[in-house]
Symmetry: C2
Subunit: 185 residues, 2 copies
Amino acid sequence: MPSSSRLTPHPSRIRILGIDPGLRATGYGVIDQDGQKLSYVASGVVRTQDGELPARIKILFAGLQEIIETFKPEACAVEKVFVNVNPQSTLLLGQARGAALAALAHADQSVYEYTALQVKQAVVGNGHADKQQVMHMVMRLLKLPGEPSPDAADALACAICHAHGGQGLGGLVTAARRRRAGRML
Amino acid sequence: MPSSSRLTPHPSRIRILGIDPGLRATGYGVIDQDGQKLSYVASGVVRTQDGELPARIKILFAGLQEIIETFKPEACAVEKVFVNVNPQSTLLLGQARGAALAALAHADQSVYEYTALQVKQAVVGNGHADKQQVMHMVMRLLKLPGEPSPDAADALACAICHAHGGQGLGGLVTAARRRRAGRML
């Protein structure tokens, strides 16, 4: 038998980059998955100040490029964003998310998308968990000594969701619940 | 006197790339400006089919990258997009525009943004001109032998707007008119 690690019973380590997109703050979180074992690698936030949109998009794109080059993930999990009550905010958030997806596409990354509900379901076991519960489980699952920033925690949660196979409620239930709350993707 | 063309009374030729962003169809138009003289270089549409968003963003980003590499513009004019009555459409359009801005940022392009009102004002002399009037003026100003596709025509109009110094109504009037029509950027 060839000794290639591809043939070992446990899957090889997979590095996952989670992203929680936003124009002002895009959170990122990098974890390694080795079978059931998850380990924390890095996390942080790419921030942009008020100013012209093209300049902010440039910072966001370059920041994510640097993160990909530094950590060389094998899969990327990006949180799906909600429409805001303010259409202008929705448009700005959309543009930030588009720039993030472009950075991943440019780096030939495999991209997976998860709703906030799927992320919470996978991390906490409850699609309607609050921020504090998500933070608690992220810290516990990754054995973090302290709280990451909220944006970074959401990104780490998204990466954990992917590691757990994106288990959440089914797509149909997800869509129905979200519609009931008056929100659409 | 040195003979450098930089010192001639007329400004050097500037190549302008106009972009009309959309997820399904992103129009582009390339023109050369030499003083008052405008000449057509190229135009077309980057299209994406229905499917997963990350794959569509990748096509859009790569398509614009290729256009920039081929035509090497010195300035880019991107049309500002309107929010749609459907929030989901707004979010998708925003993501397409974000990917387009990311492609320009990645290529270190100077990016200028114009509203549809500014573009129509600069090209037709009337911010409320219809599509057919814009098409007519684009063909006339660039001496085109035939009609470009509507998306390409809008992109060429945006490039012409930039060549004309982005002359339009003032920002405040623009915002007020658009708000009156129940639309926001």
